[in-house]
């Protein structure tokens, strides 16, 4: 057994599960041949949809950008191979309700031609400043490949006021069945560690901890050997006890550093940055080779596939094509999941493509774990015993069920990581996580509705005010006009009267003078 002298911390709760890892980790990783068409969803990350830069009919090279990332929380997507864009349309994406989203459909030409799409490599990253490297990481379309798909460049953008004490690399891979990070660490340990060095340069830290669960001795040995070869004393490979969910970001940080990330904050607030091993490797390839993120390791496993294995897959490859590489379905195939059995997404169809987040395709039968009818909660508290966040799942359940969302939030609903431990142990088979998802989405939509309502109200108030102001101004103007008109009329009248009087006076005077003159004239006649 691999020993470590490093002190480790323990999270509350956790579960020992049936891991089923050997099924897929005994075969070597092979490259999947190109499918007939690749389906590349525009949005594969947490954030906003990037801007499309190609049109139907365009020929694209391997690695060419298909959508650009100018703007906040945008990450580009790239062509996984060379070929022609045959469609840009809505296709089903990985979502339990069979949601569709805008996808670029690429018909490979089989040449796998990079053209001039490769970015300029930085052979020595130490000569390049952090900002440039971060821009490269964003331009390469790199997101967290452990499943959360948060843009990596943003995670690496740390503030100067909190120095980063540790970079934590997540190689825990705690979910059952999944072995792609395990295989990646066995195969590409040197690339991962070089990616680690690049990240340490960007965030300017002198210490890196790579956490790997101790049920992966080969991966630990490979990583330790690579670290030794690299001779970088700053990087420490740390085996950690196997306990689900030790691979949760905040859980792993606690185990390795003893630090707790404050509720609602990012790890950087306690001087830690955490990235997945596959992300580290993608960063190495983006910086040192100039290659964007266009393929990934993933696990195909479960009772429903004939030859469970790990594959190196071009992004956009439909699941159906991948299943064929794993010896096709067995008759047991009833249930398709993207991700693991605890947190994965259940899929309706295998026409869905592999995306940056896809670490596992799990095909199982339904019978072996059919959902049992829920009984009433008997308050046994097993859920609270296993919760890695130390929540009271039972209270969250009651309040979510009663739609008392305010109370649910007080019981720290948003600290729930949806790991599924509570639902796993519940003797009453209550689908606890569903209630939390429901409550969270209700609260979010209420918040959205409220902020929309607030905006609408502000707008309405502003509109009202503007109307009133306009009315007021109009009235004032009118009043002024009237007042002016009034004074004007008075003056006019006076003037007119005056003028009339004067005219009359003048007439009288004239008449008088005329009568005076008449007699004289008469007299003269």
């Amino acid at each position: 057994m691999i020993q470590t002298l490093r002190k480790l911390w323990r999270n509350h709760g956790g579960l020992h599960l049936d891991y089923h890892k050997e099924e897929s980790s005994t075969r070597p990783v092979t490259r999947v041949p190109l499918a007939d068409e690749l389906i590349i969803p525009l949005q594969q990350h947490a954030g906003y949809r990037p801007t499309l830069t190609v049109q139907v009919g365009d020929y694209v090279y391997k690695g060419q950008q298909l959508a650009s990332h100018t703007g906040f929380m945008k990450v580009p997507v790239h062509a996984s191979t060379s070929g022609t864009i045959t469609a840009i349309e809505d296709r089903p994406i990985a979502h339990p309700s069979g949601l569709t989203d805008l996808c670029i459909v690429l018909k490979p030409d089989g040449k796998d031609d990079w053209g001039n799409a490769r970015m300029t490599p930085f052979p020595d990253h130490t000569q390049v400043d952090g900002d440039t490297l971060r821009k490269r990481i964003c331009a390469a379309g790199i997101v967290g490949m452990g499943g959360a798909v948060f843009p990596s460049a943003i995670k690496l953008n740390v503030h100067d006021n909190i120095p980063i004490e540790e970079l934590v690399i997540n190689g825990a891979e705690c979910e059952p069945y999944i072995t792609c990070d395990d295989m990646l660490m066995r195969d590409k340990a040197d690339e991962i560690l070089q990616g680690v060095q690049i990240m340490m340069h960007i965030i300017d830290t002198g210490h890196c901890l790579v956490g790997i669960e101790d049920n992966k001795p080969e991966a630990i040995a490979a990583m330790q050997a690579a670290a030794e070869k690299l001779g970088d004393q700053r990087i420490e490979i740390v085996p950690i006890p196997t306990l689900y969910p030790s691979g949760g970001e905040k859980q792993l940080i606690k185990i390795l550093t003893g630090k707790e990330v404050p509720s609602g904050n990012r790890p950087a607030s306690v001087g830690v940055v955490c990235h997945n091993t596959a992300t580290a490797r993608a960063i190495y390839r983006a910086v040192a080779l100039g290659e964007p993120l266009i393929d990934r390791y993933l696990t195909v496993t479960g009772k429903g596939v004939a030859q469970p294995c790990n594959l190196d897959v071009p992004l956009g490859t439909p699941i159906q094509h991948i299943i064929r590489q794993a010896g096709d379905y067995t008759p047991a195939a009833k249930h398709l999941v993207m991700g693991g059995p605890m947190m994965g997404v259940s899929l309706q169809t295998d026409q869905i493509p592999v995306v940056k987040a896809t670490n596992c395709i799990l095909v199982n039968d339904v019978e072996s774990n059919a959902p049992q009818p829920a009984m009433p909660c008997i308050r046994c508290g097993r859920c609270a015993e296993v919760c890695p966040v130390n929540l009271l799942p039972q209270q969250l359940y009651w309040h979510s069920r009663a739609r008392d969302f305010e109370q649910a939030e007080k019981y720290h609903l948003f600290d729930c990581i949806e790991c599924g431990c509570c639902a796993y142990v519940c003797p009453s088979h209550i689908r606890l996580v569903d209630y939390y998802r429901f409550a969270k989405s209700e609260i979010r939509s209420q918040r959205t509705a409220k902020s929309k309502a607030d905006t609408a109200r502000l707008r309405h108030e502003f509109h009202q005010e503007r109307l009133e102001r306009a009315k007021r101004e109009k009235a004032e103007k009118l009043a002024k006009h009237k007042a002016q008109a009034k004074t004007n009329t008075d003056d006019d009248k006076k003037a007119a009267i005056q003028a009339a009087l004067e005219r009359a006076k003048a007439k009288k005077a004239q008449l008088a003078s005329e009568t005076d003159a008449q007699p004289a004239g008469e007299a003269r006649q």
């Binding site: 509350h12 707790e260 605890m342 774990n369 609270a384 600290d415 003797p427």
Partner: protein, 344 residues
């Protein structure tokens, strides 16, 4: 290919409500066997009658409430309530006494409050306490424990006592329980050393009764080992009972019974491992369990020592049941990444 969809997690553990309740029933077996050794037909008739009534009332209430019958009858919660009542009530209890006790437990304390999971009070203890205040005589008459009691009180006598309004000369078979004897004699200002010398007392507490308590303890420890229950409730209940009795025993060992006597008398062990640990009506937070069970232990000693009843587990449990929502509210654990567990 099309697939059915569900929500995560897609795997679940092996336990269900029925398996938990069944394990508690298994853990009661050592205690029940010892009771059968000492009380023979009396314990058996209690168990059978209580189980029968419980299943009948449970079935009836489920029907009346339009609930599915088989999942709830198969959860064994009604059987557990019945067994707890059967071992708590005096052996050879008349059938109607058991019937009314189970009626209070299953119909009133459980189903009228909403059924499994919704009852604020421990159903078995509601049934027990209702009988104790309504029929104090019948509820405090225990037969004398005799080795292999089947030879002592026969099947016919059992039938008479249970179904026919009482066996002839029944008084000869009964005696005060150790807790009762100690209480009554202490009231008469007798020193404890005299009381112990006159009665049937063993090494720890009452003769025979200490074996029953030890058997409950053994079953309880097995439940702890199986992680069906957590350590907080038994430890806090027995701890506070020992602490309270210990303080007064140190002050005056002739006027106050020793902690050992309290722990191994009456329903202390049964209460600590099987009754107070009822998940539905007990506190659920780790710290809350300590306060909840600590309160039960303290109240038990107070009522045993100064109250009107010889034993007090039932009343103490019911009193603390009332405090559970408050205790749970103020003992929330500290959530990861937050400062304190106290609600904001």
């Amino acid at each position: 290919m099309k697939f059915t969809t569900r929500t995560s997690p897609y795997v679940t553990g092996q336990q269900d409500v029925g398996s938990i309740m069944r394990q508690v029933l298994y853990a009661m077996l050592p205690g029940i066997l010892i009771l059968i050794w000492y009380f023979g037909w009396g314990t058996l008739s209690n168990l059978l009658l209580a189980t029968g009534f419980a299943l009948l009332f449970e079935w009836g209430m489920l029907k009346l409430r339009n609930r599915p019958v088989s999942p709830f009858l198969n959860d064994y919660s009604a059987v557990l309530t019945a067994w707890l009542l059967a071992v708590a009530m005096p052996a050879f209890s008349p059938w109607w006494l058991i019937g009314i006790a189970v009626l209070f437990a299953i119909v009133i304390a459980k189903h009228l409050y909403g059924g499994l999971g919704y009852n604020p009070f421990n159903p078995a203890m509601v049934g027990y306490a209702a009988m104790l205040v309504s029929y104090p005589v019948q509820m405090t008459i225990w037969p004398v424990p005799v080795d292999f009691s089947f030879n002592h009180i026969g099947f016919g006598q059992m039938l008479q006592q249970v179904f026919a309004g009482g066996a002839q000369g029944w008084d000869a078979f009964t005696a005060a329980t150790p807790l009762d004897a100690v209480k009554v004699n202490l009231r008469m200002d007798k020193p404890l050393s005299d009381i112990y010398a006159n009665g049937h007392f063993g090494l720890l507490a009452g003769q025979a009764w200490e074996w029953v308590s030890l058997a409950w303890l053994a079953g309880g420890l097995w439940l702890l080992l199986r992680k069906v229950i957590t350590w907080q409730i038994p430890a806090a209940l027995l701890g506070s009972l020992a602490l309270m009795s210990g303080i007064f025993w140190l002050i005056d060992p002739q006027a106050y019974a020793s902690p050992l006597f309290h722990l191994f008398s009456g329903a202390a062990m049964l209460g600590a491992f099987f009754i107070a640990t009822d998940p539905v009506s007990s506190s659920t937070t780790p710290l809350g369990k300590v306060f909840y069970a600590g309160g039960i232990g303290a109240f038990t000693w107070v009522i045993r020592t100064w109250g009107g009843y010889p034993d007090a587990i039932a009343f103490s449990v019911l009193i603390m049941n009332m405090a559970v929502p408050l205790i749970d509210y103020y003992t929330q654990p500290r959530v990861y990444g937050t400062k304190r567990g106290f609600p904001g």
